[in-house]
């Protein structure tokens, strides 16, 4: 049995066991009943979250769902209307300045200084955390190298490409070595290569023990990076869990894809008659999909087709993706979500 409990400063941030053998994992971010209202408009409606230390957590949802407002409340840019926030055991509402010492924030739009060059921007951001000159210059140089910006370090920020701006903003967010990094849409609107590098850097940060709180509308990105995700729609968390849990609970239909040597015309209805427990649908290119709640047994189907003299070219089990789960749970098409976001940016 695994439970997540809010961490307290006086407790060691590691796994603990109780007398009855239950294993507890310390959560580094604990949010209870968090609400934000702007007059009559409720942007975030009583959400509760527990994020485990060292994990990548993804908050997924359409535009206006409350993702950025949630991040703003957790980082001190917005004041919650109700609810509690604890970050590494520190009260995030009463002691936000203490929280800000251990967090790094990368907003959805780069917010560095256009007039300053990359190196100076990084040094300035480090100085805001009280880092001394020699150390901040050392860290800035190292980060410029890691992010592949060494040759452009003396170029004004305004002359950076979109991908470079994003990378430098992430570098600025981690220059003070935060325990938790908030990333709002880190790869939106940038080129494929830069997005790939950023994803790889996020995974590196996780390996180094940083907890990452990520919002994205790229569901496949969340699936690839995140340990746990939550779907937020209209300010409410409608589903949360690990990727595996969500797939298991929501993507509860097993699907088998058969590709035949010849055409599937006429065979579908025949198969459906003989295997009434399965739902059989035609696919493209001589293929068909066999789905059921129970895992379909392949052997009887292959034997039946063999008797009919039909050769099977390929048989493959189709795993549902996080996107399938998202669509099922929220009713929002993932493509629509992406289009909506890209449209807003344009």
């Amino acid at each position: 049995m695994l439970k997540i409990i809010p961490s307290k400063q006086n407790l060691p941030a590691k796994d603990r066991k109780t007398k009855n053998g239950e294993r507890f994992i310390m959560s580094i971010i604990s949010v209870t009943g968090l609400k934000k209202a702007y007059g009559a408009i409720i942007a975030v409606d009583g959400i509760s979250l527990d994020i485990e230390k060292g994990q990548i957590f993804g908050l997924l949802g359409p535009n206006g769902a409350g993702k950025t407002t949630t991040i703003n409340m957790l980082t001190g840019l917005a004041r919650p209307t109700a609810g509690k926030i604890f970050v590494d055991g520190i009260d995030g509402i009463k002691n936000i300045k203490k929280v800000q010492r251990i967090i790094g924030i990368v907003p959805d739009e780069s917010n560095l200084y256009d007039e300053m060059d990359g190196f100076d921007n990084l040094c300035f951001c480090a100085s805001l955390y009280g880092i001394k000159k020699a150390e901040r210059e050392k860290r800035a140089n190292k980060l410029l190298e890691i992010f592949g910006l060494k040759n452009t370090g003396k170029r004004p920020f305004r002359a950076y490409s979109k991908g470079m701006r994003r990378k430098l903003t992430i570098a600025a967010g981690i220059i003070h070595h935060p325990e938790i990094l908030f990333l709002d849409e880190p790869t939106t609107g940038i080129d494929v290569e830069s997005a790939r590098q950023i994803r790889s850097l996020i995974l590196d940060m996780k390996r180094q023990g940083t907890t990452v709180f990520l919002t994205t509308h790229y569901i496949e990105e969340a699936e690839r990076l995140c340990d746990t995700v939550a779907f937020i729609v209209d300010g409410k968390i409608i589903k949360k869990g690990t990727i595996d849990e969500l797939m298991e609970n929501e993507g509860n239909e097993h699907i088998l894809k058969l590709t035949l040597e010849g055409s599937v015309n006429g065979i579908i209805s025949d198969l459906q008659l003989n295997f009434p427990n399965f739902r059989i649908k035609p696919g493209g290119n001589n293929s068909c999909f066999i789905s059921s709640v129970e895992r379909p047994s392949l052997l009887p189907i292959l034997q039946y087709l063999d008797k009919k003299g039909i050769s099977v070219y390929e048989a493959r089990e189709i795993r549902p993706s996080l996107e399938d789960v998202f669509v099922k749970v929220t009713g929002i098409e993932a493509a629509e979500l992406k289009r909506e976001k890209e449209g807003v940016r344009k």
């Binding site: 702007y38 924030i105 907003p107 300053m116 100085s127 805001l128 955390y129 009280g130």
Partner: protein, 246 residues
């Protein structure tokens, strides 16, 4: 100690990014220079002699125009570009951050105020001026004008809005604070307004320091300016917390 590193670097960044830019420096030079030239053109013989009389007004004007617009515009500009969020998200208190932001503008105001004095030194005798009193006056005027600029910045969303609000406060002060027209010479119904304006008290100290013609007690002037500064500072802090941390 850590807060000092942040404070010093915010101040350094503002000076480098905004205050040392040629357009801002030239504004500080051109403005008083054009007023002095205007005086010479109007009365060529009396020009040099009157330069000393004009100095308190020119210095006050340089402070007023230098500080109010600079802070109002730079903060609104940073807010719009969202770089200001970076300061709000840093682990330094809002008080320390606001102090760092206003320090740059105050320094700029002080430097701008002494440019007319530097120009005047070439055309008239500046001996007999109480420079200590002059510095105190310029410093206090810079602080109040900067805080007025900050109050405008907190209330504005766009740069043009900040400029409009700045002018709304600055131009009446030009004519009602005793810069060029003594308050006693103003219509009676305008005189109470003059005494509500912080610049009136700064100009009064400067008049005392440069031409020995102040009308109020210098300590009283200082106390009023300090009081207005404290009130404006508290108002700005309260408004920042209310408006910028939504």
């Amino acid at each position: 100690m850590n807060a000092w590193i942040a404070y010093w670097n915010i101040l350094k960044k503002d000076i480098r990014n905004y205050y040392l830019k040629p357009p801002n420096i030239s504004w500080g030079i051109i403005f008083p220079l054009s007023w002095t030239l205007m005086q010479f053109i109007r009365t060529p013989q009396a020009g040099a002699a009157e330069a000393k009389q004009l100095l308190p007004g020119l210095m006050s004007m340089s402070v007023l125009f230098g500080t109010t617009s600079m802070l109002a515009v730079t903060i609104t500009f940073e807010r719009r570009g969202r770089s200001f969020d970076r300061l709000l998200l840093a682990p330094i208190s809002i008080t320390a951050m606001v102090l760092a932001k206003i320090s740059g503008a105050v320094l700029f105001g002080v430097v701008m105020a002494f440019l007319p004095a530097l120009l005047a030194a070439f055309i008239t005798d500046l001996s007999g001026i109480s420079w200590g009193m002059g510095i105190i006056s310029v410093l206090l005027m810079s602080i109040t004008s900067t805080l007025l600029g900050l109050a405008i910045a907190v209330s504005s969303k766009e740069v043009f809005e900040a400029q409009t609000y700045s002018n709304f406060f600055r131009f009446p002060m030009l004519f009602l604070s005793g810069l060029f027209i003594p308050i006693d010479n103003l219509p009676v119904f305008l005189q109470p307004i003059s005494y509500c304006l912080p610049l009136t008290y700064g100009v009064d100290i400067l008049n005392k320091a440069i031409t020995n013609t102040g009308i109020m007690n210098v300590w009283f002037d200082c106390l009023v300016l300090i009081g207005i500064s404290i009130l404006l500072f508290c108002f700005c802090l309260w408004n920042i917390k209310k408006k910028w941390i939504l």
